[in-house]
Amino acid sequence: MPAAATRGAVRPDLEQVFRREYPRVVGVAARVLGSRDEAEDVAQEVFLSFGRSSVPAAEAGGWLSVAAAHTALNLIRSGRRRTSREETVAATADAVTPDVADTVLTLEDRSRVRAALARLPRKQATALVLRHSGLSYAEVATALDLSPGSVGTTVRRAESALREELNRHASHG
Protein backbone atom coordinates (compact mmCIF):
# COMPACT_ATOMS: atom_id res chain seq x y z
CA MET A 1 0.00 0.00 0.00
CA PRO A 2 2.22 2.83 -1.19
CA ALA A 3 -0.21 5.64 -0.39
CA ALA A 4 -0.02 5.59 3.37
CA ALA A 5 3.36 4.04 3.91
CA THR A 6 5.34 7.09 4.88
CA ARG A 7 3.13 9.18 7.08
CA GLY A 8 4.75 12.42 8.09
CA ALA A 9 7.54 12.31 5.53
CA VAL A 10 7.44 14.83 2.72
CA ARG A 11 8.32 14.10 -0.88
CA PRO A 12 11.10 16.33 -2.12
CA ASP A 13 9.40 16.57 -5.52
CA LEU A 14 5.99 17.56 -4.10
CA GLU A 15 5.99 21.21 -5.14
CA GLN A 16 7.34 20.46 -8.59
CA VAL A 17 4.73 17.77 -9.24
CA PHE A 18 2.01 19.99 -7.75
CA ARG A 19 2.79 22.88 -10.06
CA ARG A 20 3.04 20.65 -13.10
CA GLU A 21 -0.06 18.52 -12.52
CA TYR A 22 -2.44 20.74 -10.58
CA PRO A 23 -4.38 22.22 -13.54
CA ARG A 24 -5.00 18.81 -15.05
CA VAL A 25 -6.01 17.27 -11.72
CA VAL A 26 -8.51 20.09 -11.20
CA GLY A 27 -9.70 19.53 -14.78
CA VAL A 28 -10.40 15.86 -14.09
CA ALA A 29 -12.36 16.58 -10.92
CA ALA A 30 -14.20 19.52 -12.50
CA ARG A 31 -15.46 17.34 -15.34
CA VAL A 32 -16.95 14.96 -12.80
CA LEU A 33 -18.28 17.58 -10.39
CA GLY A 34 -19.15 20.52 -12.63
CA SER A 35 -17.78 22.91 -10.04
CA ARG A 36 -14.32 24.37 -10.03
CA ASP A 37 -14.41 25.14 -6.31
CA GLU A 38 -15.26 21.58 -5.43
CA ALA A 39 -12.74 20.32 -7.95
CA GLU A 40 -10.03 22.36 -6.27
CA ASP A 41 -11.03 20.89 -2.89
CA VAL A 42 -10.70 17.41 -4.35
CA ALA A 43 -7.34 18.29 -5.91
CA GLN A 44 -6.03 19.50 -2.55
CA GLU A 45 -7.04 16.20 -0.92
CA VAL A 46 -5.49 14.18 -3.71
CA PHE A 47 -2.18 16.02 -3.48
CA LEU A 48 -2.24 15.52 0.29
CA SER A 49 -2.42 11.76 -0.29
CA PHE A 50 0.22 12.00 -2.95
CA GLY A 51 2.53 13.94 -0.65
CA ARG A 52 2.55 11.05 1.78
CA SER A 53 2.86 8.39 -0.88
CA SER A 54 5.82 6.74 -2.51
CA VAL A 55 4.32 6.76 -6.00
CA PRO A 56 7.23 7.04 -8.47
CA ALA A 57 7.50 10.53 -9.99
CA ALA A 58 7.14 9.12 -13.49
CA GLU A 59 3.72 7.69 -12.59
CA ALA A 60 2.56 10.76 -10.68
CA GLY A 61 0.45 12.26 -13.48
CA GLY A 62 -1.64 9.16 -14.07
CA TRP A 63 -1.91 8.37 -10.35
CA LEU A 64 -3.12 11.86 -9.51
CA SER A 65 -5.65 11.94 -12.35
CA VAL A 66 -7.11 8.57 -11.42
CA ALA A 67 -7.22 9.51 -7.74
CA ALA A 68 -9.00 12.77 -8.60
CA ALA A 69 -11.55 10.97 -10.78
CA HIS A 70 -12.28 8.35 -8.12
CA THR A 71 -12.53 10.87 -5.31
CA ALA A 72 -14.84 13.09 -7.35
CA LEU A 73 -16.98 10.15 -8.49
CA ASN A 74 -17.32 9.01 -4.88
CA LEU A 75 -18.47 12.47 -4.03
CA ILE A 76 -21.27 12.62 -6.59
CA ARG A 77 -22.25 9.04 -5.96
CA SER A 78 -22.66 9.69 -2.26
CA GLY A 79 -24.84 12.74 -2.94
CA ARG A 80 -22.93 14.77 -0.37
CA ARG A 81 -22.20 17.67 -2.61
CA ARG A 82 -23.37 21.21 -2.72
CA THR A 83 -25.41 21.29 -5.90
CA SER A 84 -26.15 24.97 -5.61
CA ARG A 85 -22.50 25.65 -6.31
CA GLU A 86 -22.59 23.67 -9.50
CA GLU A 87 -25.39 25.79 -10.86
CA THR A 88 -23.67 29.04 -9.98
CA VAL A 89 -20.40 28.06 -11.54
CA ALA A 90 -21.96 26.54 -14.62
CA ALA A 91 -24.08 29.64 -15.16
CA THR A 92 -21.05 31.88 -14.89
CA ALA A 93 -19.08 29.70 -17.25
CA ASP A 94 -21.88 29.80 -19.77
CA ALA A 95 -22.38 33.52 -19.59
CA VAL A 96 -20.13 33.95 -22.59
CA THR A 97 -22.48 31.85 -24.72
CA PRO A 98 -24.60 34.29 -26.72
CA ASP A 99 -27.58 32.03 -27.24
CA VAL A 100 -29.76 31.72 -24.15
CA ALA A 101 -31.35 28.47 -25.32
CA ASP A 102 -27.90 26.93 -25.71
CA THR A 103 -27.02 28.00 -22.22
CA VAL A 104 -30.07 26.37 -20.71
CA LEU A 105 -29.59 23.20 -22.71
CA THR A 106 -25.95 22.91 -21.69
CA LEU A 107 -26.78 23.47 -18.06
CA GLU A 108 -29.39 20.72 -18.12
CA ASP A 109 -27.11 18.47 -20.13
CA ARG A 110 -24.39 18.97 -17.60
CA SER A 111 -26.36 17.92 -14.59
CA ARG A 112 -27.78 14.92 -16.48
CA VAL A 113 -24.39 13.84 -17.70
CA ARG A 114 -23.07 13.96 -14.17
CA ALA A 115 -25.93 11.90 -12.78
CA ALA A 116 -25.37 9.36 -15.55
CA LEU A 117 -21.63 9.38 -14.96
CA ALA A 118 -22.20 8.26 -11.39
CA ARG A 119 -24.15 5.25 -12.64
CA LEU A 120 -21.56 4.08 -15.18
CA PRO A 121 -19.16 1.27 -14.33
CA ARG A 122 -16.28 2.91 -12.49
CA LYS A 123 -13.65 2.08 -15.10
CA GLN A 124 -15.75 3.48 -17.96
CA ALA A 125 -16.46 6.69 -16.11
CA THR A 126 -12.81 7.15 -15.18
CA ALA A 127 -11.50 6.40 -18.67
CA LEU A 128 -14.01 8.85 -20.14
CA VAL A 129 -13.11 11.67 -17.79
CA LEU A 130 -9.37 11.09 -18.13
CA ARG A 131 -9.59 11.09 -21.91
CA HIS A 132 -11.66 14.30 -21.96
CA SER A 133 -9.17 15.88 -19.56
CA GLY A 134 -6.44 15.50 -22.13
CA LEU A 135 -4.71 12.26 -21.19
CA SER A 136 -3.54 10.33 -24.24
CA TYR A 137 -4.80 6.82 -24.96
CA ALA A 138 -1.44 5.46 -23.82
CA GLU A 139 -1.62 7.44 -20.57
CA VAL A 140 -5.19 6.30 -19.86
CA ALA A 141 -4.17 2.69 -20.58
CA THR A 142 -1.25 2.86 -18.14
CA ALA A 143 -3.16 4.71 -15.45
CA LEU A 144 -6.11 2.31 -15.49
CA ASP A 145 -4.17 -0.84 -16.28
CA LEU A 146 -6.10 -1.32 -19.52
CA SER A 147 -4.66 -2.66 -22.77
CA PRO A 148 -4.04 0.26 -25.15
CA GLY A 149 -6.49 -1.24 -27.63
CA SER A 150 -9.38 -1.31 -25.16
CA VAL A 151 -9.24 2.37 -24.15
CA GLY A 152 -11.17 3.44 -27.26
CA THR A 153 -13.79 0.75 -26.67
CA THR A 154 -14.19 1.73 -23.01
CA VAL A 155 -14.47 5.46 -23.78
CA ARG A 156 -16.87 4.79 -26.65
CA ARG A 157 -19.17 2.70 -24.45
CA ALA A 158 -19.24 5.43 -21.85
CA GLU A 159 -20.07 8.08 -24.44
CA SER A 160 -22.85 5.96 -25.96
CA ALA A 161 -24.40 5.49 -22.54
CA LEU A 162 -24.23 9.20 -21.79
CA ARG A 163 -25.60 10.16 -25.21
CA GLU A 164 -28.56 7.81 -24.66
CA GLU A 165 -29.16 9.48 -21.32
CA LEU A 166 -29.11 12.93 -22.94
CA ASN A 167 -31.40 11.86 -25.80
CA ARG A 168 -33.84 10.19 -23.44
CA HIS A 169 -34.34 13.48 -21.63
CA ALA A 170 -34.31 15.54 -24.84
CA SER A 171 -37.17 13.47 -26.31
CA HIS A 172 -39.20 13.81 -23.11
CA GLY A 173 -38.54 17.49 -22.81
Binding site: A3, R52, S136, V151
Partner: protein, 360 residues
Amino acid sequence: MRHTDEGVLRRLVDEPAGVPDADRTHVAGCPTCLRVLDDARADAQRVGAALGGPGAVDTDAAWARFSAAGSPAVAAGRPARAAARSRWGAAVRRPAVAALGAVVLVTGAGVAAANDWLPIFQTERVDPVEITSTDLVQVPDLSAYGDVEITQQPDPEQVPDAATAAERTGLEVPEVAELPEGVTGEPAYQVAGVVGATFTFSADKAAQAAAAEGEVLPPPPPGIDGSTLRFEAGPGVAAVWSQPTGVPTLVVARVGAPQVFSSGVPFEAVRDHLLSLPGLPDGLADQLRDLSTDAATLPLPVPAELVTSSTADVDGSEATVLTSRNGLFAGVVWVEDGVMTGVAGSLSADELLSVARGLG
Protein backbone atom coordinates in the same frame (compact mmCIF):
# COMPACT_ATOMS: atom_id res chain seq x y z
CA MET B 1 -11.99 -6.96 -44.61
CA ARG B 2 -14.14 -6.83 -41.51
CA HIS B 3 -15.45 -3.47 -40.40
CA THR B 4 -13.21 -1.51 -38.08
CA ASP B 5 -13.78 -1.98 -34.39
CA GLU B 6 -15.73 0.84 -32.69
CA GLY B 7 -12.95 1.40 -30.18
CA VAL B 8 -10.48 1.96 -33.01
CA LEU B 9 -12.91 4.35 -34.68
CA ARG B 10 -13.20 6.24 -31.41
CA ARG B 11 -9.44 6.61 -31.28
CA LEU B 12 -9.49 7.84 -34.87
CA VAL B 13 -11.47 10.84 -33.59
CA ASP B 14 -8.75 11.85 -31.11
CA GLU B 15 -5.50 10.25 -32.15
CA PRO B 16 -5.59 9.25 -35.83
CA ALA B 17 -1.84 8.67 -35.76
CA GLY B 18 -2.36 5.92 -33.18
CA VAL B 19 -4.59 3.90 -35.54
CA PRO B 20 -2.97 1.33 -37.88
CA ASP B 21 -2.79 2.27 -41.58
CA ALA B 22 -4.88 -0.75 -42.62
CA ASP B 23 -7.80 0.47 -40.48
CA ARG B 24 -7.54 4.02 -41.76
CA THR B 25 -7.50 2.84 -45.37
CA HIS B 26 -10.53 0.65 -44.76
CA VAL B 27 -12.52 3.38 -43.04
CA ALA B 28 -11.79 5.91 -45.79
CA GLY B 29 -13.52 3.65 -48.33
CA CYS B 30 -16.27 2.15 -46.16
CA PRO B 31 -19.57 4.07 -45.86
CA THR B 32 -20.65 1.94 -42.88
CA CYS B 33 -17.50 2.66 -40.90
CA LEU B 34 -17.62 6.36 -41.88
CA ARG B 35 -21.14 6.58 -40.48
CA VAL B 36 -20.06 4.94 -37.23
CA LEU B 37 -17.07 7.29 -37.11
CA ASP B 38 -19.36 10.31 -37.52
CA ASP B 39 -21.57 9.05 -34.69
CA ALA B 40 -18.56 8.53 -32.46
CA ARG B 41 -17.29 12.03 -33.21
CA ALA B 42 -20.71 13.60 -32.55
CA ASP B 43 -21.08 11.72 -29.26
CA ALA B 44 -17.57 12.68 -28.19
CA GLN B 45 -18.25 16.35 -28.88
CA ARG B 46 -21.59 16.36 -27.15
CA VAL B 47 -20.34 14.55 -24.06
CA GLY B 48 -17.23 16.74 -24.00
CA ALA B 49 -19.38 19.87 -24.03
CA ALA B 50 -21.61 18.52 -21.29
CA LEU B 51 -18.64 17.56 -19.13
CA GLY B 52 -17.23 21.07 -19.46
CA GLY B 53 -13.93 21.99 -17.89
CA PRO B 54 -12.50 23.94 -15.00
CA GLY B 55 -11.75 27.23 -16.77
CA ALA B 56 -8.69 29.14 -15.62
CA VAL B 57 -6.86 27.61 -12.67
CA ASP B 58 -4.53 29.65 -10.47
CA THR B 59 -1.77 27.19 -9.59
CA ASP B 60 0.21 29.71 -7.50
CA ALA B 61 -2.79 30.42 -5.29
CA ALA B 62 -3.53 26.70 -5.06
CA TRP B 63 0.02 25.93 -3.95
CA ALA B 64 -0.14 28.73 -1.38
CA ARG B 65 -3.37 27.26 0.00
CA PHE B 66 -1.92 23.76 0.01
CA SER B 67 1.21 24.83 1.88
CA ALA B 68 -0.74 26.94 4.35
CA ALA B 69 -3.43 24.38 5.11
CA GLY B 70 -1.34 22.82 7.83
CA SER B 71 -0.83 19.81 5.66
CA PRO B 72 1.31 17.36 7.63
CA ALA B 73 3.31 16.52 4.54
CA VAL B 74 4.15 20.11 3.76
CA ALA B 75 4.56 21.21 7.36
CA ALA B 76 7.04 18.42 7.91
CA GLY B 77 9.10 19.80 5.06
CA ARG B 78 9.41 23.17 6.81
CA PRO B 79 10.57 22.46 10.34
CA ALA B 80 12.45 25.76 10.45
CA ARG B 81 9.31 27.79 10.00
CA ALA B 82 7.33 25.78 12.52
CA ALA B 83 10.12 26.19 15.04
CA ALA B 84 10.30 29.91 14.44
CA ARG B 85 6.61 30.27 15.19
CA SER B 86 6.78 28.47 18.48
CA ARG B 87 9.27 26.25 20.17
CA TRP B 88 6.45 24.87 22.24
CA GLY B 89 4.62 23.70 19.20
CA ALA B 90 7.54 22.51 17.16
CA ALA B 91 7.14 18.85 17.96
CA VAL B 92 3.37 18.66 18.04
CA ARG B 93 1.86 16.26 15.62
CA ARG B 94 -0.37 18.10 13.15
CA PRO B 95 -3.78 16.54 13.45
CA ALA B 96 -5.37 17.90 10.26
CA VAL B 97 -5.58 14.46 8.79
CA ALA B 98 -4.77 12.46 11.89
CA ALA B 99 -7.86 13.70 13.62
CA LEU B 100 -9.96 12.07 10.97
CA GLY B 101 -8.95 9.60 13.45
CA ALA B 102 -9.70 6.04 12.88
CA VAL B 103 -7.88 6.00 9.56
CA VAL B 104 -4.67 6.10 11.45
CA LEU B 105 -5.53 4.51 14.76
CA VAL B 106 -2.85 1.96 14.15
CA THR B 107 -0.29 4.39 12.82
CA GLY B 108 -0.55 6.85 15.61
CA ALA B 109 -3.42 9.32 15.93
CA GLY B 110 -4.87 7.63 18.98
CA VAL B 111 -1.36 7.26 20.28
CA ALA B 112 -0.65 10.92 19.66
CA ALA B 113 -3.75 11.97 21.50
CA ALA B 114 -2.99 10.02 24.63
CA ASN B 115 0.73 10.52 24.49
CA ASP B 116 0.39 14.26 24.36
CA TRP B 117 -2.31 14.55 26.97
CA LEU B 118 -3.78 12.46 29.64
CA PRO B 119 -1.76 10.28 31.89
CA ILE B 120 -2.75 7.50 34.28
CA PHE B 121 -5.54 6.52 32.33
CA GLN B 122 -7.49 3.62 30.85
CA THR B 123 -9.38 4.48 27.70
CA GLU B 124 -13.04 3.65 27.96
CA ARG B 125 -14.38 6.21 25.53
CA VAL B 126 -13.21 8.77 23.05
CA ASP B 127 -14.32 12.37 22.91
CA PRO B 128 -13.35 14.98 20.40
CA VAL B 129 -11.57 18.09 21.63
CA GLU B 130 -11.90 21.05 19.35
CA ILE B 131 -8.58 22.53 18.51
CA THR B 132 -7.87 25.39 16.14
CA SER B 133 -4.71 25.83 14.12
CA THR B 134 -3.84 28.76 16.38
CA ASP B 135 -4.14 26.49 19.41
CA LEU B 136 -1.97 23.95 17.70
CA VAL B 137 1.11 26.07 17.36
CA GLN B 138 0.78 26.98 21.03
CA VAL B 139 0.32 23.48 22.34
CA PRO B 140 3.34 22.31 24.28
CA ASP B 141 4.84 18.94 23.65
CA LEU B 142 5.57 16.61 26.52
CA SER B 143 9.28 16.66 25.70
CA ALA B 144 9.35 20.25 26.90
CA TYR B 145 8.57 19.02 30.44
CA GLY B 146 10.77 16.00 30.73
CA ASP B 147 12.30 13.04 28.96
CA VAL B 148 10.33 10.90 26.57
CA GLU B 149 11.66 7.47 25.71
CA ILE B 150 10.08 5.02 23.33
CA THR B 151 10.44 1.64 25.04
CA GLN B 152 8.65 -0.52 22.55
CA GLN B 153 8.27 0.03 18.81
CA PRO B 154 5.07 -1.14 17.16
CA ASP B 155 6.87 -2.44 14.01
CA PRO B 156 3.91 -2.19 11.65
CA GLU B 157 3.81 -4.66 8.77
CA GLN B 158 1.44 -5.97 6.15
CA VAL B 159 0.23 -9.54 6.48
CA PRO B 160 -1.42 -11.70 3.82
CA ASP B 161 -4.79 -12.37 5.46
CA ALA B 162 -7.13 -11.92 8.41
CA ALA B 163 -6.10 -15.20 10.04
CA THR B 164 -2.44 -14.14 10.15
CA ALA B 165 -3.44 -10.71 11.45
CA ALA B 166 -5.44 -12.33 14.26
CA GLU B 167 -2.56 -14.63 15.10
CA ARG B 168 -0.02 -11.79 15.23
CA THR B 169 -2.09 -9.41 17.33
CA GLY B 170 -4.37 -11.63 19.37
CA LEU B 171 -7.18 -9.28 18.35
CA GLU B 172 -10.44 -10.30 16.82
CA VAL B 173 -10.07 -9.02 13.27
CA PRO B 174 -13.21 -7.05 12.35
CA GLU B 175 -15.21 -8.55 9.51
CA VAL B 176 -17.33 -6.29 7.36
CA ALA B 177 -20.73 -7.84 6.74
CA GLU B 178 -21.58 -5.77 3.70
CA LEU B 179 -19.24 -3.45 1.84
CA PRO B 180 -20.64 -0.03 0.93
CA GLU B 181 -21.30 0.70 -2.71
CA GLY B 182 -18.11 1.59 -4.53
CA VAL B 183 -15.85 -0.38 -2.20
CA THR B 184 -14.78 -3.63 -3.77
CA GLY B 185 -12.12 -6.28 -3.66
CA GLU B 186 -10.14 -7.77 -0.84
CA PRO B 187 -8.60 -5.61 1.88
CA ALA B 188 -4.93 -5.41 2.73
CA TYR B 189 -4.24 -6.27 6.38
CA GLN B 190 -1.82 -4.20 8.41
CA VAL B 191 -0.77 -5.19 11.91
CA ALA B 192 1.27 -3.44 14.54
CA GLY B 193 2.51 -4.53 17.93
CA VAL B 194 2.30 -2.72 21.24
CA VAL B 195 3.84 0.72 21.36
CA GLY B 196 5.27 1.69 24.69
CA ALA B 197 6.85 4.86 26.00
CA THR B 198 7.90 6.35 29.27
CA PHE B 199 7.90 9.95 30.31
CA THR B 200 9.91 11.28 33.22
CA PHE B 201 8.99 14.71 34.54
CA SER B 202 11.83 17.17 34.85
CA ALA B 203 11.13 20.39 36.74
CA ASP B 204 14.39 21.86 35.37
CA LYS B 205 13.55 21.17 31.77
CA ALA B 206 10.04 22.53 32.16
CA ALA B 207 11.36 25.67 33.80
CA GLN B 208 13.86 26.20 30.96
CA ALA B 209 11.21 25.73 28.30
CA ALA B 210 8.91 28.15 30.11
CA ALA B 211 11.70 30.71 30.50
CA ALA B 212 12.44 30.51 26.77
CA GLU B 213 8.87 31.64 26.20
CA GLY B 214 9.16 34.36 28.81
CA GLU B 215 6.81 32.54 31.17
CA VAL B 216 7.16 31.54 34.78
CA LEU B 217 6.45 27.93 35.51
CA PRO B 218 3.94 27.24 38.26
CA PRO B 219 5.56 25.22 41.05
CA PRO B 220 5.14 21.48 40.46
CA PRO B 221 3.13 19.61 43.07
CA PRO B 222 5.14 17.43 45.46
CA GLY B 223 6.36 14.17 43.96
CA ILE B 224 6.00 15.20 40.32
CA ASP B 225 9.64 16.01 39.60
CA GLY B 226 11.44 12.84 38.56
CA SER B 227 8.32 10.68 38.57
CA THR B 228 7.67 8.46 35.59
CA LEU B 229 4.61 7.62 33.57
CA ARG B 230 4.45 4.57 31.37
CA PHE B 231 2.29 4.67 28.30
CA GLU B 232 1.05 1.71 26.32
CA ALA B 233 -1.22 1.18 23.31
CA GLY B 234 -1.82 -1.61 20.86
CA PRO B 235 -1.53 -4.09 19.37
CA GLY B 236 -3.50 -3.02 16.34
CA VAL B 237 -4.89 -4.39 13.14
CA ALA B 238 -6.33 -2.57 10.14
CA ALA B 239 -8.13 -3.85 7.07
CA VAL B 240 -7.69 -1.38 4.24
CA TRP B 241 -9.70 -1.35 1.03
CA SER B 242 -8.02 0.76 -1.63
CA GLN B 243 -8.63 1.96 -5.11
CA PRO B 244 -6.26 0.53 -7.71
CA THR B 245 -4.30 3.76 -7.27
CA GLY B 246 -3.59 2.98 -3.63
CA VAL B 247 -5.88 5.64 -2.19
CA PRO B 248 -7.77 4.00 0.68
CA THR B 249 -11.57 4.08 0.36
CA LEU B 250 -12.39 2.21 3.56
CA VAL B 251 -10.33 1.41 6.63
CA VAL B 252 -11.52 -0.70 9.53
CA ALA B 253 -9.08 -0.71 12.41
CA ARG B 254 -8.96 -2.13 15.90
CA VAL B 255 -6.37 -1.34 18.49
CA GLY B 256 -5.72 -2.00 22.17
CA ALA B 257 -6.89 1.30 23.64
CA PRO B 258 -4.22 3.51 25.17
CA GLN B 259 -3.44 3.15 28.87
CA VAL B 260 -1.12 5.14 31.05
CA PHE B 261 0.54 3.90 34.23
CA SER B 262 2.16 6.07 36.81
CA SER B 263 5.15 5.40 39.02
CA GLY B 264 3.25 6.87 41.92
CA VAL B 265 1.79 10.26 41.16
CA PRO B 266 -2.00 10.30 41.14
CA PHE B 267 -3.79 11.06 37.90
CA GLU B 268 -5.40 14.24 39.21
CA ALA B 269 -2.05 15.72 40.23
CA VAL B 270 -0.49 15.07 36.83
CA ARG B 271 -3.56 16.35 35.01
CA ASP B 272 -3.86 19.55 37.01
CA HIS B 273 -0.15 20.24 36.66
CA LEU B 274 -0.15 19.71 32.88
CA LEU B 275 -3.23 21.82 32.41
CA SER B 276 -1.74 24.67 34.43
CA LEU B 277 1.45 24.89 32.37
CA PRO B 278 1.96 27.98 30.27
CA GLY B 279 1.50 27.59 26.53
CA LEU B 280 -1.74 25.69 26.70
CA PRO B 281 -4.58 27.84 25.33
CA ASP B 282 -7.27 28.49 27.96
CA GLY B 283 -10.16 27.15 25.89
CA LEU B 284 -8.35 23.93 25.21
CA ALA B 285 -7.34 23.51 28.85
CA ASP B 286 -10.99 23.93 29.87
CA GLN B 287 -12.15 21.33 27.38
CA LEU B 288 -9.53 18.89 28.60
CA ARG B 289 -10.36 19.55 32.26
CA ASP B 290 -14.06 18.90 31.67
CA LEU B 291 -13.26 15.74 29.85
CA SER B 292 -10.72 14.32 32.22
CA THR B 293 -12.72 13.93 35.40
CA ASP B 294 -12.81 10.15 35.14
CA ALA B 295 -9.37 9.19 33.77
CA ALA B 296 -11.09 7.15 31.10
CA THR B 297 -11.89 9.47 28.22
CA LEU B 298 -9.31 9.79 25.50
CA PRO B 299 -9.31 13.30 24.03
CA LEU B 300 -9.07 13.15 20.27
CA PRO B 301 -7.82 16.46 18.90
CA VAL B 302 -10.14 17.58 16.14
CA PRO B 303 -9.30 20.59 13.97
CA ALA B 304 -12.49 22.60 14.28
CA GLU B 305 -12.01 24.37 10.96
CA LEU B 306 -11.87 21.12 9.02
CA VAL B 307 -13.94 18.58 10.87
CA THR B 308 -17.30 18.42 12.60
CA SER B 309 -18.02 15.84 15.25
CA SER B 310 -21.16 14.24 16.61
CA THR B 311 -22.09 11.06 18.42
CA ALA B 312 -24.01 7.97 17.44
CA ASP B 313 -24.80 4.60 18.93
CA VAL B 314 -22.89 1.57 17.71
CA ASP B 315 -24.26 -1.60 19.26
CA GLY B 316 -24.66 0.00 22.66
CA SER B 317 -21.40 1.97 22.71
CA GLU B 318 -21.33 5.70 22.19
CA ALA B 319 -19.28 6.39 19.09
CA THR B 320 -17.71 9.62 17.97
CA VAL B 321 -18.52 10.50 14.37
CA LEU B 322 -16.11 12.84 12.59
CA THR B 323 -16.98 14.34 9.23
CA SER B 324 -14.70 16.57 7.22
CA ARG B 325 -16.41 19.85 6.40
CA ASN B 326 -15.77 19.39 2.69
CA GLY B 327 -17.68 16.11 2.85
CA LEU B 328 -14.83 14.03 1.46
CA PHE B 329 -14.00 11.92 4.46
CA ALA B 330 -15.61 10.65 7.60
CA GLY B 331 -14.72 8.40 10.49
CA VAL B 332 -16.43 6.63 13.37
CA VAL B 333 -14.55 5.55 16.48
CA TRP B 334 -15.62 3.85 19.69
CA VAL B 335 -14.20 1.86 22.60
CA GLU B 336 -15.50 -1.38 24.01
CA ASP B 337 -13.80 -3.55 26.62
CA GLY B 338 -10.48 -1.78 26.27
CA VAL B 339 -10.41 -2.15 22.51
CA MET B 340 -10.79 0.88 20.28
CA THR B 341 -12.38 0.31 16.88
CA GLY B 342 -12.51 2.78 14.04
CA VAL B 343 -14.10 2.83 10.62
CA ALA B 344 -13.15 5.58 8.21
CA GLY B 345 -12.96 6.37 4.56
CA SER B 346 -14.06 8.51 1.67
CA LEU B 347 -17.69 7.64 2.37
CA SER B 348 -20.59 9.29 4.15
CA ALA B 349 -20.97 9.02 7.91
CA ASP B 350 -24.17 7.01 7.40
CA GLU B 351 -22.41 4.49 5.21
CA LEU B 352 -19.62 4.16 7.77
CA LEU B 353 -22.06 3.77 10.66
CA SER B 354 -23.78 1.02 8.77
CA VAL B 355 -20.40 -0.73 8.33
CA ALA B 356 -19.61 -0.15 12.02
CA ARG B 357 -22.90 -1.67 13.20
CA GLY B 358 -22.47 -4.68 10.93
CA LEU B 359 -18.96 -5.60 12.02
CA GLY B 360 -18.51 -9.26 12.87
